[in-house]
Amino acid sequence: MKKLIYTIVFIGSFFLGTAQQTPAGPQVEAISIDGATAHLGNGMVIENALIMFEGGKLTFVGSAMTKIARRGTVIKGNGKHVYPGFIAPNKSLGLVEVDAVRATNDQDEIGEMIPHVRSLIAYNAESQVVESMRPNGVLIGQITPKGGRISGTSSIVQFDAWNWEDAAIKVDDGIHMNWPTNFRKGRWWMGEPRGFLPNKEYVKQLEEIKHFLKNAAAYDIVGNSELNPAFAAMQGLFDGSKKLFINANDEKEIIDAITTAKENGIMDVVLVGGYHAYKVMDFLKKNNIPVLLQHTQSLPVFDDEDYDLPYKLPKLLTDAGILVAIQNGDAANFQTRNLPFYAGQVVAQGLEKEKALQLITGNSAKILGIDDAYGTLEIGKSATLFISKGDALDMKGNKLTHAFIDGRNISLETHQTELWKRYMGKYEGK
């Protein structure tokens, strides 16, 4: 007992002692960024651009040569680059603080089909991991529950907030499903080989999903005297107010998943993962399925595959005309600050830089359904953007001087920059 109390006191003091940066107040004065290279996030780039925003919205995006009065504070942008805030789909940021400390983990509820479980209310707006996204330009995330067959419902948040209500951009945007795997890992502790074997339960698992979807579709909220929370939560999928994000990687899994979802009246389906999506591109196009591809900085799954297959997957799908964005759902949360470099990695495979940028901005916003306000630099949209000294998709250029969320000038300091300054101060005798 004594030990337990110590633990509580200890952990408590750590989190209290190092709170997050204070969220910025609303934009009160107009801001003009003059002379930077503007990367719009829709494939366009404007050299020597002028960007102006007021009341949190972009009021001008165009050439700096345009004869127009600069409003409010003017930031000299010469030699610098402006980007829309990067968007991180399919992450459990704010749901887990320290991976190995169970007490800090809120990403995986028990249960197989639990669409009614909602991530938003557990989202920790003061997470130090979330805070560390911002200096790299990652300003928006889809906070996603993990585990089970249907993991729960996600919401989309911005990364500078007092609490989860402040943070929310789109509440309960989608439901997330893990499609059964065609091959499963050998249970080596039971004497099976360590590799992958055909999953003999696959058909049964698929039937379970169909059964659930059919019953959810047949469920009548109004006429039912007893609420079924799982079925109730699914209703948004059938009226188009929510999207279904299905994690599947193998070609057979992908085809089964999309077909099953469509056959059961689900209107908006997004493929997540999609490692072998490049093998079924015609199918995806025909069904108009966007893909949140697994991130590029991973190893090929199979020995015989091209060493650079994960690097080039987004290019293969982009070239085929499929709407693609990058997510890193299977990586640790802290890695999400490397989102710009996941996109940069594809450029070495021959994708144009501006198209690579779309993989973490404009395309992501479209797929998540927040493109009315976020993802690109366009007049009327939210002023969620940042200024970098150099090419933000390249490590050596990604150095932010300013970042804005809805026009609010947010802090780029973090727990980490504070420690940096503190100890450099120690050594430099400051």
């Binding site: 190995a100 065609n182 360590r194 020995d303 060493y307 940069g344 390249d394 490590m395 050596k396």
Partner: protein, 981 residues
Amino acid sequence: MKMKLLALTLLWCGATLFAQDYFPDNEGVKSKNNNYTAFTNAKIYITPTQVVDHGTLLIQNGKVVQVGKSVAIPKNTVTIDLSGKSVYPSFIDVFSDFGVSKPKRAEGSGRSPQYKPSREGFYWNDHIMPENNAISTFKFDDKKAKELRDAGFGVVNSHIQDGIARGTGVLLTLNAEGGDSQRIIDDRSAQYFSFSKSVASKQSYPTSLMGAMALLRQMYTDADWYAKGNVDTKDRSLEALNANMGLPQIFAAGNNGNVLRADGIGDANGLQYSILGGGDEYEIIDAIKNTQAKLIIPLDFPEAYDVSDPNQASYVALKDMRYWNQAPANPKILAENGVTFSFTLNGLKSPTQMMEKLQKAITYGLSKTKALEALTTVPAQIVGKTDKVGSLQPGRYANFLITSGDIFDKGTTLYENWVQGSKNVVNTMDLIDIRGDYTMKIGDKTFTISITGKPGKPKAKVTQDSSTYTSKIVYKDQWMNLSFSKDDELYRLTGLVKDKSNPLTGKLVLPNGNESSFVATLSKPFDQNKKENTTSKKPEMVPITYPNIGYGYQSIPQSESTLFKNATVWTSEEAGILEQTDVLVKDGKIAKIGKNLNAGRAKVIDASGKHLTAGIIDEHSHLAALAINEAGQNSSAEVKMEDVIDPKDIDIYRNLAGGVTSLQLLHGSANPIGGRSALLKLKWGETAQNMIYDNSPKFIKFALGENVKQSNWQSFSRFPQTRMGVEQVYMNYFQRAKEYEAKKKSGKPYRHDEEMETLVEILNGERFISCHSYVQSEINMLMKVADKFNFKINTFTHILEGYKLADKMVEHGVGASTFSDWWAYKYEVKDAIPYNAAIMHSQGITVAINSDDAEMSRRLNQEAAKTMKYGGVSELEAWKMVTINPAKLLHIDNRVGSIKEGKDADLVLWSDNPLSIYAKAEKTLIEGATYFDLEKDRQQRKAITQERNKLIRMMLKEKEGGNKTQAPKNNKKEKFHCDSL
């Protein structure tokens, strides 16, 4: 009745042949049968290479008396005429578990691992059981013995297949009669070893292959120490081990890498094991040959994968498809390379499978002589019993086979397997072969009967004009029963077969129930070779590559003279970055750096617009390994990563594609004192041994924090559980090492201790520590421990809080190898910051960026670039963090890590600034040989697609041909990190 009679006869024979002289007999009067038996007119394989036609084999009292062309037959001889038949020595399997039962699996021991032994009076480790003797649990198994005899075996060497040191085996004949007193040739025939732990004990150590190897080494030195009388207490294991030293020593290795490992342990202890292989020896045949070990080779060639579903087929790796295709060539390749080997049934589901597998090996080119040697003379040599078994020379046991012809041919029948002069019938010998085409008249109908199949198990096809009758034939004990019918028209035939030229006669029952006699006339004799011609086509074998997996090369890359023209050269030296510069590579070294160099005969590569750097060096890697942690003890200084290198790891190739040329393969972080490192060059295609640096500097892994405290998994019993305890482990070990060395130097006898030897090396500055570390308190602690014992910590690896005590690190003189930006994965990395490298660098520490991860290491150039983002390190200094700085930390900076004349030509040609996310490695050279090349890579991809297609086609054919297949699977290797157990 007849069978019973036969059995009685045999029993009687056996009893009289073998009753011991001094045993009383109360069932009659003593009578001894000293008659001879002669087998005449046979083709006799006295040995596989000594064959006589029309020879005579003369046996008496279970042994061979005489054999040859002209053998004088004594008067008291029973003669058996074997005209047209062949006689072979019966087979021997030296790796069997016949008659011994496997011990019971130990029950679980709760939530914490068991560190202590379960036994008293034996070696400290339960998995060392040389005191086990197979004879002590041996029970002759009649059913198994018959199965084995039916497959041609006369002798097996059986042992308890459990544990690392397994004790002795028992060599026995499979004589059905006479009892164990006759059968047992040697009850301590050989001593057995393996790398696998006993199932009978839960004792944790060793948890890894390298731990098993270290344990074996320590076991031998302890046995020596014990033998010299230095131990007061009783150790029955070591006593047994010592007592068994003179026996043949057999090691169950089980795959080609382990064959080399086992042989290495033998060499270090002056022993030559005979080694159980895995069937994959052909992949590294030169190294296998160099062991000079006699091998015991399984015949469990894999079945083809069922690839009829293209989606499922895509999961099967090329290497596994290849293994299906190539494995049957293993015996042939071993034989061609002069490796002495025997066959074993080990791995086969049933002895009946053996002949078919052997025939397959023969179609792949194995000579029949070698096949026979592997079943007779070689196993006899392995157990040192050539004077008793394995041939039919006079004095040997009368263990022999009688066959209808060449024993390895498909149509051949094995008639009898005689063991110690006692006859066992497998197939009736005097059976008349009734196969052939016959015609038979019944009334006005003429039937054609075509009999095919095996002589003892024929098949019949009955036709009349153009209509075929359904038919069934049974041929047993010389009686033939045939029935055939069409609709209601049923004919039944039965007859005793006694006339070779007119075999089918007898009684006929007509459709109406009336009986009459019949005679079927032989119209065409059976053609033995008809079917074989179509099946004995030599199979196509796909080429072996180095390594033998996808992306392996047809031959190992060789050093070439190369001139890189007009490159941007990142020297990682004072010279910095040189524009428009040439670099000449000769004899594997960097020969010259300058402008407008003369190519001479060197191959010229136009590098304009490209960047040439030294190869990347990863200070902290776990790729190319078969195991990472020996977690069975809190100190594992005795284990060596060099023991467990996996040269077939595809991540080697992928890392070359990311410009990595060298790495330190580190032990994991499970223990305060980990294992010894391997410093590797990523020479894709070379053997494990050839990847290790020559005169490699010596390193060892230490670890601090949560992993060694076992904080993040269920373990509560091992010391230390706190950082306080960690210090005490070090203090204790180094103190003991000091005392050990003092004793050693004093000249007094001392017990050689692998662990202590390693720690003494550290104390003397001969071995360097790379210590896994996170939190500043413990880092400080370890430096203080080192100060106390007067040595220096070489490197703190990970060192995520290094920035908090950079001043103290500078004072101690330790280097740092860190992650660029990892944090938040456990509690002790909550203060890990990406500015760490920059801060430490600013204070004058030699800083490297490391990976601990096979994915990150192939982008280590990008990770270095992050130090520019986080903390503003200059381009030049950032690049040094993955080249010359890790080289310095690893004490190999005199050879690699920079572009400097005289250094190894470990070079990478990049498409762009190597610190840019947009850069791609186009060529990667090690010692002047190109191990990765974008263009070659493109060709490899094509080749892999084609080869996969070809093998899939072949496997589909295999399935169509009615052969057995196995379900597709993907034998994926686990990716290792520090905490992989």
